[in-house]
Amino acid sequence: MKKLMIMLLLITAFGCAKKYTTPAETTAPPEGPVKEEVMREEVLPERGETIMEERVTERVEAPGRETVVESGVPSEEQVKSIFKDVLFDYDKYEIRPDAREGLNAIAAYLGKNKGINIVIEGHCDERGTNEYNLALGEKRAKSAKNYLSSLGVSPDRMIVITFGEEKPVCTDQSESCWQQNRRAHFVIVKSRFPQ
């Protein structure tokens, strides 16, 4: 009800403003009845396939000793140790040399586990401006995707999404924190992507 009232206010506040003064005009006609079209909290049409996700834990310091999973379901620990964030320099989106080893491990894992697809999220630190950072984050995610693709991972198995500076993992104002936020982050998806 409150929502309806707020919308009524919004509609009418825009719709029924004072008619501006043409001096000859004696009365402005009252506005007609307020049209209402309640905008529902839209429910997106259900896709045929629900995407099942496992969010890989954000920070894993230990390098994955075993990059190749033999068979069956890999343990959560193994997955975490493989899908580490790829970090970037300030205002840059090139893959750094120190990120190659981690990406190689991810490519190898994806080569052995064909049933797994990934979402690559691009992120930035807070220092830039929001819109530019969204574009920068996308470039970072795409750099990671291109690198994995060059190692033989099918592009169909990877989608990229940018969140710019909107989803930081660390909120201190320090270089070490900003470095953690300048990242490509991997989310594992256990089904085909729609489309």
């Binding site: 409150k2 009232m5 707020i6 919308m7 009524l8 206010l9 919004l10 509609i11 009418t12 506040a13 825009f14 719709g15 029924c16 403003a17 004072k18 008619k19 501006y20 003064t21 043409t22 001096p23 005009e25 004696t26 009365t27 402005a28 006609p29 009252p30 506005e31 307020v34 049209k35 209402e36 079209e37 309640v38 905008m39 909290e41 839209e42 997106l44 205002d91 979402v119 220092r127 830039g128 401006t129 929001n130 819109e131 530019y132 969204l134 574009a135 920068l136 996308e138 470039k139 795409k142 989608i159 990229v160 999404i161 940018t162 969140f163 710019g164 909107e166 989803k167 930081p168």
Partner: protein, 418 residues
Amino acid sequence: MRMRKRNAKEKEPGGNNGPSFFILAFIFCAVLCARSFADAKIYIDITSPGIRQLPVSLHMPRTPTAREIERIIKSDLEFTGLFSFVDPDIRGAELIADIDVDATGGLTVILSIKDLVENKEVLKKRYTSNSIRPLAHSIANDIYFVATGKKGIFRTKLSYLVSKYAGRKELRLMDWDGQTSVSISSRGLTSSHSWTQNGKYLLYAEERERRWRIYILDIMKYKEMVLFSSAGLNLVGGTSPDDLISFSSSKDGSSEIYVIDIYGKGFKKLTMALGIDVSPVFSPDGKKIAFVSDRGGTPQIYTMDANGMGVRRLTFEGSYNTSPAWSPDGKFISYVGRYNGKNQIFMVKSDGTDVRQLTFSGNNENPSFSPDGLFLAYDSDREGKKGIYIMRMHMEGDQRITPRDINASSPKWSPYLK
């Protein structure tokens, strides 16, 4: 030239949901009679340097409703810096606004503005409404128009974003003074947004379920449609007088500048660069587009003709300049530049000369001009949480208009609304 300014007093915001009285609609206003403005006397010439303040008296009944109306009118006019208020019992005012308020059954207000020097009535008008705020802002607009010969901005609104939590930003709408805030879209991560120049539509880029789409909302019908959707990042930039929309899309790989009309037709690609091209905004006459590109190695502001030709770099100072916004007369571009490790608002002539820094404390981002060009809205974290501030372009003083406990950012000033 560095411009100085100070923080003005904070107004008490709030009023997200006023009493039911406010929620009732503003029905209509009627003109009793009005003078012809064509050859009207101008009391304050706002275009001249060294503007004087016009002494004005408001004569109102002493009822709570009338006092509320008076408070809003005074607050509007005072922030322009162009008016001083004189007690109606004391001489000295040049104009007196006699405001008669009848609050029995709806709200009827009769405004009579008299020139006390020439001792004649210059405007008489009746307003009928169920809502105090728009009515009071309309009266302030009329007093302002009588005094300056210019349209007031007191009925304009700002769209802006409120952070709910990481990765979730809601698009909201509020009056220019920060009051009567309402939610527009709260289903995802909203980013860039823009008004069409008739004030009828809001455009916004929002991420929902990992897709960045550009939406268009008919504000009166409250109906939302997808304007543009593709793989990758789509961000709305600005609008032209003939309802073209500039936006960036990475649908072909890298983020490039495009235009489309409000019906989703007339799609045109304007840039071809390998890096990032983003944040395209039309000049007020629709002939040029300013945008951000990293084609020179760092993000800088560029301008080009609206057909994509004649690209020219505008900013050269510093290594990070983004978020361009044209002044309504087209003469200036305000933008965000990184300076001494902080983001600050700058302004430059549209030919690239005469760079001025407008903010100095905290991080200040997302500039947006009022339709008369006399004010600039932006967000700042200078007092902790990000909030929306309004700066006066021709004199000192800026004012926070959003509450301190809300993380508000990215104001976009509406055109004049009727």
